[in-house]
């Protein structure tokens, strides 16, 4: 059970050591910076220190209660993240697969639209642009009816 916000790179595999002991099912999601057809150099992620950490922990607990997770882990980076590097990961552990899948899916939908992070693209041509929120992300979140 843990939530972390950090600027340092991380190895998703190393995060899972000792995760979910005794569970029958573990689901992980890892988000990685795509190169967008070679146009992107890096992402820069800003967040709301204090609020972010509290909300990640709060939603982890909420997912644990709602889906009966035996363990959960959320890690999200901020700062500059190079193409090909992991941005964030979510892991869920449960007795059966459906709970682990739904817990991870729920946490991701929530993170996309409610966790106070903002992404900016640093492009190879030197331009910089904030990433716009996708309408589809709000639709995804609405599936859980507790936004």
């Amino acid at each position: 059970m843990s939530a972390h916000v950090q600027s340092a790179p991380f190895d998703p595999a190393a995060q899972l050591r000792d995760f979910g002991r005794g569970a029958g099912a573990i689901v992980t999601f890892t988000g990685i910076v795509r190169d967008e057809g070679g146009t992107l150099s890096a992402l820069e992620i800003e967040h709301y220190p204090g609020m972010t950490e509290r909300l990640l922990a709060e939603y982890g607990e909420r997912a644990a209660n709602r889906f009966g997770l035996s363990d959960w882990h959320i890690l999200h980076r901020h700062g500059t993240i190079a193409v090909g590097e992991p941005i964030m990961m979510v892991a869920t552990a449960a007795r059966h697969r459906r709970a682990a899948f739904e817990g991870a899916d729920y946490l991701m939908d929530w993170l996309k639209s409610r966790a106070p992070f903002w992404k900016r693209e640093i492009r190879r041509d030197g331009s910089v642009a904030w990433v716009a929120a996708r309408d589809g992300d709000e639709d995804d979140l609405a599936r859980w009816q507790d936004a």
Partner: protein, 83 residues
């Protein structure tokens, strides 16, 4: 009352500062936005489209009609893009 007002992402860029201390009698977030809009062209631009703006009151997501009574920290930002 005295409030810490925080700005993030494109809102921070428009206003030109990540935070400022504000003295106000505004009753709601929306009323404060009207006052802040008078401060500079950057503030006016930041608050020009309330529908594209999110806020947090003492680090809890809130809507623009939330009351400010007793609030110490108010944050404005665009829709979040985590994950």
């Amino acid at each position: 009352m005295t409030l810490e007002v925080l700005y993030f992402a494109s809102l921070r860029e428009r206003v030109g500062t990540p935070r400022e201390t504000v003295e106000t009698q505004a009753a709601t977030v929306r009323a404060l936005m009207a006052e802040l809009s008078a401060r500079s062209a950057g503030h006016a631009a930041a608050f020009a489209d309330p529908a594209s703006l999110r806020c947090a009151v003492d680090q809890q997501l809130a809507n623009l009609d939330a009351p400010l009574d007793g609030v110490r920290e108010l944050a404005f930002f665009p829709p979040m893009t985590g994950g």
